[in-house]
């Protein structure tokens, strides 16, 4: 086994903190929901901004960064430039996230510090990814998506830092004009394009789908890229018309992407409905529901629909897409480290054996019910339903942490 390269599976101790912290932040985000009342539900409310950063930085980014340590070599087909750099990323992201969350809530003086620590963490990540991409001889569409998304992340965090500095009074910039550039760069440019690129590698890998056209992916990535660039220009140049065009293009990009996933789902030979499959079904259903809610918002211009749309996008689409993939990524990494050297020598578990059935199903059911209840709570402005939804989500998040720890400590 000496000749086997470790390029495609970095040491698990390097990645484990990302997943453990990510799942803890998922629980903290769920607990945070108990503090909300219907009166707080506004995009300008510091509590909502604080919650958004807790979920996006603590759970979404933390888990994506950990997953990328393993997925980048798989997608780019080259080893990392310096995978050890990931040891520095999670502590910085952890500290930066906490400073930002508390900063928005209690003291804006903390925001510049939080912003800078997050910036350093993400610069290390982006730098490592870029240096790894430079090793690639010929870029495919999926590889290009990694390059595009990380370029947007770079700009997204710069906009974010400028806003944080201004929020704290250190510099003076128009926060409201930079807000759209920040949101679009991070959500549309980084998270969405990363998901688009990686999912067309990972989902067919696990469902064994073949022979589908990549044209919809090309269209969705190009359209989203144009949308993000236009949104940034609209923010900087105060051009309202560009902003509308960006919104329509981003919506179109996500619809084309959803269509591609539907095609991949439809032709899949592997039809078992394990926790991975049902998590993805819920995730993409949430994406469609989020888009529909956004369309309703465009016509009615009522903020609650925009909030509900974002809620479905965050906890429904991003949340379930990430948790679903965790049930594939952690077993693979643990199996690779603990059991692959034993292949041919003794009976070893399959990857599916390493996923705890009860807690993974409990996580799915509780979280799915929680997401639906909170969506209704936002639309109906019901305090009772917010608490009810949060209760389900907390139960689901506890089951998720239990699943993550079970898989990490799996002994066979």
């Amino acid at each position: 086994m000496g000749k086997i390269s470790q390029d495609f599976a970095p040491p698990f101790k390097l990645i484990a903190p990302f997943f453990i912290l990510g799942s803890i932040f998922y629980l903290l985000s769920s607990l945070y929901l108990f503090t909300f009342t219907s009166d707080d539900l506004s995009f300008t409310n510091p509590q909502v901004i604080s919650f958004t950063h807790l979920f996006l930085l603590g759970f979404v980014m933390m888990t994506i960064f950990g997953a990328m340590a393993q997925l980048v070599p798989v997608v780019l087909e080259v080893g990392h430039f310096g995978v050890e750099l990931f040891y520095a990323i999670w502590p910085l992201l952890l500290i930066g996230t906490l400073l930002m969350v508390f900063g928005f809530l209690y003291s804006s003086a903390l925001l510049p510090y939080g912003g800078i620590v997050v910036l350093i963490s993400m610069m290390i990540f982006v730098g490592e990814i870029f240096l790894t991409i430079f090793k690639v001889k010929k870029l495919t569409l999926v590889m290009s998506s990694v390059l595009i998304s990380n370029t947007f992340l770079f700009f997204g965090i710069i906009f974010g830092l400028l806003m944080a500095l201004s929020y704290a009074g250190t510099i003076s910039v128009d926060i409201s004009s930079l807000l759209k550039a920040h949101i679009y760069s991070v959500l549309g440019g980084y998270i969405s394009i990363t998901i688009m690129g990686l999912s067309v590698v990972l989902i067919p890998m696990f469902t064994l789908s073949h022979s589908f056209s990549m044209r919809p992916l090309e269209i969705s990535i190009s359209t989203m890229t144009i949308a993000v660039v236009l949104a940034i220009l609209a923010s900087l140049l105060h051009l309202e018309v560009l902003s509308y065009i960006a919104d329509i293009l981003a919506l179109g990009a996500m619809l084309v992407y959803a269509y591609l996933i539907y095609i991949i789902y439809k032709i899949r030979p592997r039809k078992e409905n394990d926790v991975y499959a049902i998590s993805l079904m819920f995730s993409y259903s949430s994406l469609v529901a989020s888009i529909l809610m956004l369309v309703v918002y465009f016509f009615m211009e009522k903020e609650t629909y925009l909030l509900a749309s974002m809620w479905l996008l965050f906890f429904g689409f991003f949340g379930f897409l990430i948790t679903g993939h965790i049930y594939k990524i952690i077993p693979f990494l643990v199996w690779f480290e603990k059991f692959s050297p034993l292949v041919g020598k003794q009976k070893i578990p399959m990857l599916a054996d390493m996923v705890p059935y009860k807690s993974s199903q409990a996580q799915f059911i509780f979280c799915a019910v929680g997401v639906i209840i909170v969506t209704i709570a936002i639309i109906s402005q019901s305090n009772i339903l917010i608490g009810a939804g949060a209760s389900f989500l907390v139960m689901g998040a506890i089951a998720f942490i239990r699943s993550v720890l079970y898989m990490i400590n799996f002994k066979g």
Partner: protein, 101 residues
């Protein structure tokens, strides 16, 4: 005369199981061809279900080790090809049935 037939080599490789789907590589239809000369030099032509398979190198190693278990095999050359591209129709019926294809 060849030391081992294609079937005998396939039989040896059928001990290698894909840990993700739980089927062996032969019944998955991933092994395209195998031959052995009279000196015991084996050549295996195979594919993987995806180009992005993170176990790529490991699976090749397992195939090599499985064939090396045959007595008097001198060398094993495993070549990965991407044409024809693998699809589920290449798998055995029991695999298709179990997956629900």
């Amino acid at each position: 005369m060849a030391m081992y037939t294609k079937d005998e080599i396939f039989q040896a490789i059928s001990t290698v199981i894909d840990p993700e789907v739980g089927f062996n590589l032969v019944e998955m239809g991933l092994i395209y061809d195998a031959s052995c000369d009279k000196e015991g030099n084996v050549k295996v032509t195979m594919t993987l279900s995806t180009k992005a398979c993170p176990l790529h190198q490991m699976i090749l190693q397992w195939v090599k080790e499985a064939v090396e278990k045959l007595p008097n095999v001198q060398s094993v050359d495993v070549e990965v090809v991407w044409e024809p591209e693998w699809n589920i129709t290449m798998a055995d019926n029991n695999v298709k049935k179990a997956l629900g294809a």
